[in-house]
Assembly symmetry: C2
Homo-oligomer: 334 residues x 2
């Protein structure tokens, strides 16, 4: 049985020509605050519910990214999007206002890299000239759906993560300026038997580890070949587990590795193990990471978003938490 | 503003080399009973919950399709799959047992054609040699999640549809025997303002209409060029609305048009407007339609699965129902 490549190679170098990040005020007060395009003080965005506010943030990210790319919404070839709400309603209601072909995607908090992988693959193959890849999440809607409504005031364990209120959108194109997506490594589902739905970092770290090994084997690159390696969102605990799993195989992630969930909140913000949510890696990519690539502080970046694929129903039924990690490699033209 | 093509063209003719359908006993007793591969008398498949039963059906469809294609599970290039349960847990828990790259997809009951579109696109472009495209649904889990648990014994209006307990999987490959997927038309989100979550056919018919127009315009084919045209799942009422919308534009769908939801149950089975659920079009494709194509009774088929993209939360919040329809064209080699 020979090993099978999980990695797609994009010779035509589809690229990220624009990115837009929209975040809530807590995220705006965090260490990355100055990098975000807009910080929204109202978590409902002037709408009547948190869910409608989440959709409004989603729309703002897509429209803002298109505007930064100098495009009309109508010019977008296709939308690749998903979110954490049941039936992906943030994405679908945002897509309702866009006259473009829409691919609904779900891989929990790894949806951003699933969208970038498919968007880049479809542009590289010539099916579309441009694509919008978007995802988002919202603290209030995620707490209500996955745990308890905020009004209950439930306590959280110290290893819990805090769902980021954030949306991000990248515009991909077959030409133009911006970092190219050169590879995408499509994850497999990995389950090490974790059953505590508060301990998502521990559930997802093995999936990130599985994908790190696939990236290194398929591309024959080394850890040292990347200026930055980012997971999203293992949090502090999950990030440490990933470092340990890698170390056991002789792979030292070192200083170049950070986790988007760890980066987005400072320890004073009482977000425990750090941020999470599909919007977390989406907003960090479309602000901090693209900014550093634009300035050539990073020239090759590995972004590995991780997702926990359980539902409240499966947790109630005693199931363990399967996880997945999709990775993309982004490179500046040199 | 010029019209933009929504249609992908697959010159390398990726093909469906095998299909597997797994259904519940009610579906087995319906008009298409003799076409299904397996009819399961136990809706829990011997597991402790309906949800676990749904996952088991899903796994059986994938494993069965791979076996019919003469493949080991490990040989599948990638899995493109989704379902109706929150967080796509049927797909993800089925994918947990498969050592393959997994793309989680959601477009409600149009997930089968979203999966076929992406699977065929990725094979046509040379990224994978084979792919499994799968989806499913379950009456008991859908009622509990979207409406009320079965034990409540709620009444249903006469235009309601009945979620099919079914899973279907198609194996796509870059070579081999079976109908080629020559085109995929990727839908846009369409919302005509329907707010009655029991009246999904009316909500989805405009999306099907939008995609019919895109197919005819993009491919320059005519209705008469198809031996069979299938929507899934508008039901009786939605199918009539689609016929009317087309007729107003001078397009007569005629006898060659049927709806998978209308086909799967007979009127004596008291399923009101007909079947629905992501598994409905998946099991009709992977039984009846592939059988008729194999016998050359159909040589060119247009399959247009339709999805309603709302959630219970958006319905409670008074939102209307956005819908989408993705279409694929399948052709025999002649």
């Amino acid at each position: 049985m020979t090993a099978k490549s999980q990695t797609l190679v994009f010779k035509n170098r589809p690229r990220i020509i624009a990115g837009m990040s929209v975040v809530g005020d807590k995220e705006g007060e965090g260490p990355l605050g100055k990098y975000f395009d807009t910080i929204e003080p109202d978590p409902k965005m002037g709408k009547s519910s948190f869910e409608k506010g989440e959709t409004a943030m989603f729309s703002k990210a897509i429209e803002g990214a298109a505007a930064k790319a100098g495009m009309q919404i109508f010019d977008i070839g296709a939308l690749f999007a998903g979110d954490l709400l049941n039936q992906l309603v943030s994405s679908s209601y945002a897509a309702r206002d866009l006259p473009v072909s829409y691919f609904g995607l779900y891989s929990a908090c790894s949806t951003m890299t699933e969208a970038l992988s498919l968007g880049a693959a479809m542009i590289n193959a010539g099916y579309f000239k441009t694509a919008a890849c978007a995802t988002g999440s919202h603290f209030a809607t995620a707490e209500r759906q996955y745990r308890f409504p905020l009004e209950y005031g439930c306590q959280r364990p110290p290893y819990a993560q805090w769902t980021a209120t954030a949306a991000g959108c990248s515009i991909l194109a077959d030409s133009g300026n911006g970092p190219a997506i050169t590879h995408a490594t499509i994850g497999r589902v990995v389950d090490y038997g974790i059953t505590d739905a508060n301990n998502m970092g521990a559930a997802m770290a093995p999936a990130a580890f599985d994908t790190v090994l696939a990236v290194l084997e398929d591309t024959e690159m080394k850890i040292e070949d990347f200026d930055g390696i980012f997971t999203g969102d293992l949090g502090r605990l999950g990030g440490e587990i990933l470092r340990d799993l890698c170390r056991e195989r002789g792979i030292e992630l070192g200083q170049r590795y950070s986790d988007c969930g760890e980066m987005i909140f400072s320890s004073e913000q009482e977000c425990y193990s750090g941020g999470s949510g599909a919007g977390c890696s989406a907003c960090v990519l479309n602000s901090f990471i693209l900014d550093k690539m634009k300035k050539h502080e990073y020239n090759r970046v590995l972004l590995m978003a991780t997702g926990a694929l359980m539902s409240p129903t499966t947790s109630f039924q005693g199931e363990s938490i399967p996880a997945i990690c999709h990775a993309v490699i982004m490179e500046n033209d040199l």
